[in-house]
Amino acid sequence: MTNLNLGPNLYNWPAEIWRDFYLQLADESPIDKVFLGEVICSKRAPLFEPYYEEIVSRLTKAGKQIIYSTLAEITSNIDRRLLTKQLSDKNIIIEANDVAALLSLNGAPHTIGSYMNVYNEDSLEFFAQNGATNICLPPEMPKSGIKQLNKTAKKLNVELEVQIFGRIGLALSARCYHARAHELTKDSCKFICDEDLDGMDLTTLEGQDFLTINGIQTQSYTCLNLVNEINQLQEIGINNFRISPQSKGTIKATIVFRDLLDRKIDVDEASAKLEEEKINAPFSNGFFYGVAGNEWRV
């Protein structure tokens, strides 16, 4: 079984846009698993709460599996309270994005998100023995590492997942760079990050597109696209693929990648379709080849 999954939404979309996106996803997308839950900023979490029940119900009725992603960086009391709340429902599957989540999971089955450091066989084994059933690898992992780790994962009966599309999370901080750009602080932020549906573009002094600011997170400017590498990933034995949501082209990307995985279309057709509807940023796949992550190799 090949799973095509939608990672957690990392941006602060206005709540109605957020709700409409997931309703459309339920109706139109062939996605298998949907990761919900606030990963980036504990202050944003309450904004989406009024719509959770409706979203979860619609996605579940549409046959999607829901997994709840936890906060990636935990420092303040608000962060800690949110984490406790995120972990309080014992009936949902949790994706842990920080070691802090593992304490109260206490060995119960869960998944490991891409913000956790799983770089080698020993850490993979530790997480597996601690209850992980599925591990989304760090996006900087090259093909050689994915291949090597999947051998261990098979033995341990753990499924590995690889991000194949969407901007790449590169760094986390306690400081909010969105607030800083507006000369505010994290506590007084006025939620100005909701102005940027795909994050805020950061350019160099020479005007070159460089990075993307998303609250405490720094992302790639480029949009990861492993459409040309899907076959290699499948040959290695990877069966779980993750798309990270953007404001444009995401639902279409889920359809394109599903068709590609089902061999309904070929790589060239998939490539062309992804090019048709995308955010205003070039594609990259460098990390897969062990070179600079911003590079695009064809």
Binding site: N117, D122, N294
Partner: protein
Amino acid sequence: MSEQITKPELVCPAGTPASLRTAVDAGADAIYCGFVGPTNARNFPGLNFSLDEMTKAVDYAQQRGAKLLTAINSFPTAGRTDIWKKAIDDAVSINVDAIIIADIGMAKYLSETHPDQRIHLSVQAGASSPEAINFYCDRFDIKRVVLPRILTVAEIKKVHDEIPCEIEAFIFGNIGMMAEGRCSLTNYVTGLSTNMDGVCSPANFVHYEEDKDKNLTTRLGEYAIDCIGCGENAGYPTICKGRYNVGHRAEYYAFEEPVSLNLTHLLPDLIEAGVTALKIEGRQRSKAYIRSVVSSFRQAVDAYSNGEQPDISDLLALTEGHKETMGAFPSKKWR
């Protein structure tokens, strides 16, 4: 300050055997250093210790009442963990006082293979909450955590009250803005990974370009990190201390200014918050730098511990001409 306060340990860096001896002689209570190669997070040419050098370093430090802490704090890449395991076995065999570990798989190996070895959790593990630290303590019997440089003193106090292990906190030196052990910015630009290759902003990708007006552009790979006019101090180009533009704002330090951390003024607060060990950054620094920083902090810590006000002018002079910061530590306004 209460009278019950224990004197904190002064933990100092050493990139070479010579700077290790310098740090010990200048009054360090403990020295941290790493083996040559990819097993530590400062894998720079000309730095770090061979097994023979580390063995002698242990003797030199311990004979003078100082501790030797070995940093094995990078993340082994798949198929190469034997290199990290050998480093761990070597460190244990020469009786280092503690091993500083970041990777959870290596923590497991170390705690299972050498259950009597004292383990410190590296800042690279990014354990920033009592929940995360308690998990590491529970599973690997961690004796000390090196806290990320993103917590306020008030938060450190809370962490202290909720964990069973000691706290080591950075007080001086270079400061990165991103959570340690969770940053792939360098890899995005250079193809070399901070976590997997132990490098941040590697020197062979750094370029300086001067134009006809003497403006100096600093570059990492193809990207301009900053442009410095005449009379300004050109910092080493790291991505998180560069100057950039966003749509509504031009030429600003989007992450942080090129500053270094100096918590001299907060020493009493940190000690009161329950910090056991005060850490100085800078394994890449010269002997002269190590000598003056370590001896200055030695005097300051001794004075504070005796309830006296130390003369901190030497320490302030060390950062003179360079911008300094108390970073995240004083208040949440930093965020």
